[in-house]
């Protein structure tokens, strides 16, 4: 690489990582290059958790919380002592294109972010996440119905919310907030809303039970906890079709929408960014408001 456009030296570019759609690591790197202008703002200053698939999505991948051996010195990390793991975790942060390309070269297909920023704000979430997940035979159409009802509720509270496909079966609805509440508070908020929806739509269940009934749409408020992560907007997922966790306009959420249509190949063709300005919005959350 004579021109030195990046500090990253790519390796094994011809390795097939998504066999079903015949996508090599070169295609993965290319995807992340092209999506970077939209993806980087969503990653900024957030500790990351990676899911790496060096042998492709049909072989087992592994989670990586800790910056791996051989992490270049120019990659920023955020070190925090984990009470549960009883050791310091050196989270990777991705604030620039080089780091993103380095991640892509590691076959870190899935990039997950914490719901809070690094440093002092780590215990104060700046996102509330509604993770809406169908239990078959419930379908994506059911998920859309729940999400639209959720939007009505949030609108009524004056809260601007953003929707994206999870990249798998469900949807994520996210509210950007000022980082001044605790996870207990955001969790309580998500739980209250979940309960409300439970009453309005029989298909919804918001309580975690050991085996969610089949056919329900599960709203997991527990995702709003310290240390939990969500797939970053525009992160690839380790699915056969190389799906992407894709930000959507609310107006796009209509019955018949297929989450697998949003993949490595199609998402880069979308011009607009439905989540534009997302990272600049900081809303107040009035937890006790009904």
């Amino acid at each position: 690489m004579s021109e030195k456009l990046t500090k990253v030296g790519f390796t094994n570019l011809s390795k097939v990582l998504y066999p079903a759609v015949k996508a090599t690591k070169a295609r993965v790197v290319e995807y992340y290059i092209k999506i970077a202008p939209k993806l980087l703002p969503a990653l900024a200053d957030r500790p990351l958790v990676l899911t790496r698939f060096p042998e492709g999505v049909e072989k087992e991948g592994f989670y990586e919380k800790n910056a791996p051996q051989g992490t270049p010195e120019w990659v920023r990390t955020f070190t925090r002592y984990s009470e549960t793991a009883k050791r310091s975790i050196h989270y990777i942060m991705c604030n620039d294109l080089d780091t993103l390309l380095w991640l892509a070269n590691l076959a870190a297909l899935e990039i997950h972010v914490t719901l809070s920023s690094a440093e002092d704000a780590f215990l104060k979430p700046d996102l509330v996440l509604f993770d809406i997940d169908p239990k078959p035979p419930a379908t994506f159409d059911d998920v859309i119905e729940v999400a639209l009802q959720l939007k009505l509720e949030l609108d009524a509270l004056g809260l601007k919310s953003f929707a994206k496909t999870s990249g798998k079966k469900g949807l994520h609805v996210v509210i950007p907030i000022v980082p001044r509440y605790t996870f207990l508070e955001t969790r309580t908020f998500a739980r209250e809303i979940g309960r409300k929806l439970e009453k309005q739509l029989p298909v919804v269940t918001s309580e975690f039970s050991r085996q969610p009934r089949p056919g329900v749409v599960f709203m997991d408020y527990l995702q709003n906890s310290h240390g939990k992560t969500m797939a970053c907007p525009y992160s690839l997922r380790a699915t056969p079709q190389a799906t992407v966790s894709t930000p959507l306009e609310w107006s796009q959420l209509k019955k018949g929408l297929k989450p697998e249509d949003f993949n490595m190949f199609s998402v880069v063709l979308i011009k607009e960014d439905p989540w534009e300005g997302f990272s600049d919005i900081k809303q107040k959350l009035e937890v006790n408001q009904k």
Binding site: M1, T11, L13, E30, I33, P37
Partner: protein, 282 residues
Amino acid sequence: MGRFLRHQTKTGGEPKIANEKTVRVPKRPIWTGTITIGLVNVPVKLYRMIFERGFSFRFLHEQDGQPLKYQKVCTKDNLVVPWEDTVRGYEVSKNEFIVFTKEELEAAKPESDRKIRLNKFVDFYSIDPIYFETTYILAPDKNPEAYTLLLKALEKTEKAAAGTITLRTKEYPAIVQAHKGVLILNTLRYGYELADPSKLDELKKLKEPSKDELDLAAKIVGDLSGEFNIDEYEDAYKQKIEDLIEKKLKGETIVVEKPEVKEEAKELMAALKQTLEQLKKK
């Protein structure tokens, strides 16, 4: 790829896999003799303790897969010279040799009187590890009571015994110490076998770091401090070769990984340029 497998099964019977995790047990002593400390004699057998486990490959003839051997060839006429016709030469200057016959060298060999002479008891940790060369196991021979007595005495006093041993043609400084309930012997290097680092130009003008830098470095050292555990280390090359051997034994074809595919990298660079421009505009 994998096409010489037939030779392996032909000569070896059960194919050997180098993937042994446990450390080897030495089969026979490489030396037997006596430890002498003053008037005390302790008969011992010396076993290898160090087994370097890198990989040794045999050279084969590519066409027929047969092993190759080395021969001594005269540099003048390229004829193979048999062992009986060889003498040793010490090169005093370029292409000028002083000749020694085998008999002369044999006569000059140090008298290997099969003695480990120990004459001083020292604090083991006072010895700079840089002098340590290799380690042998000392096992009792004939008079195990004397062996146990020396072992227990060293354990009790927490001392190591220093002296000399002659192995083949070389006399070594040696340290005998108690280690996990047995006696072991370390041969040491002579002081003159070490380079003097202070003579290196790069090391003559080292600047003092600032206090802040030093504090930060010390903090990192603190953060990363822990117990040393040798089992945390693995030879990645060895592991890789072992995996390849197993694959080849199963008849799989090995695809050599290329570090970088030129064409593909070029394509990516075009996309990268675009993105960099886009990011600049923001």
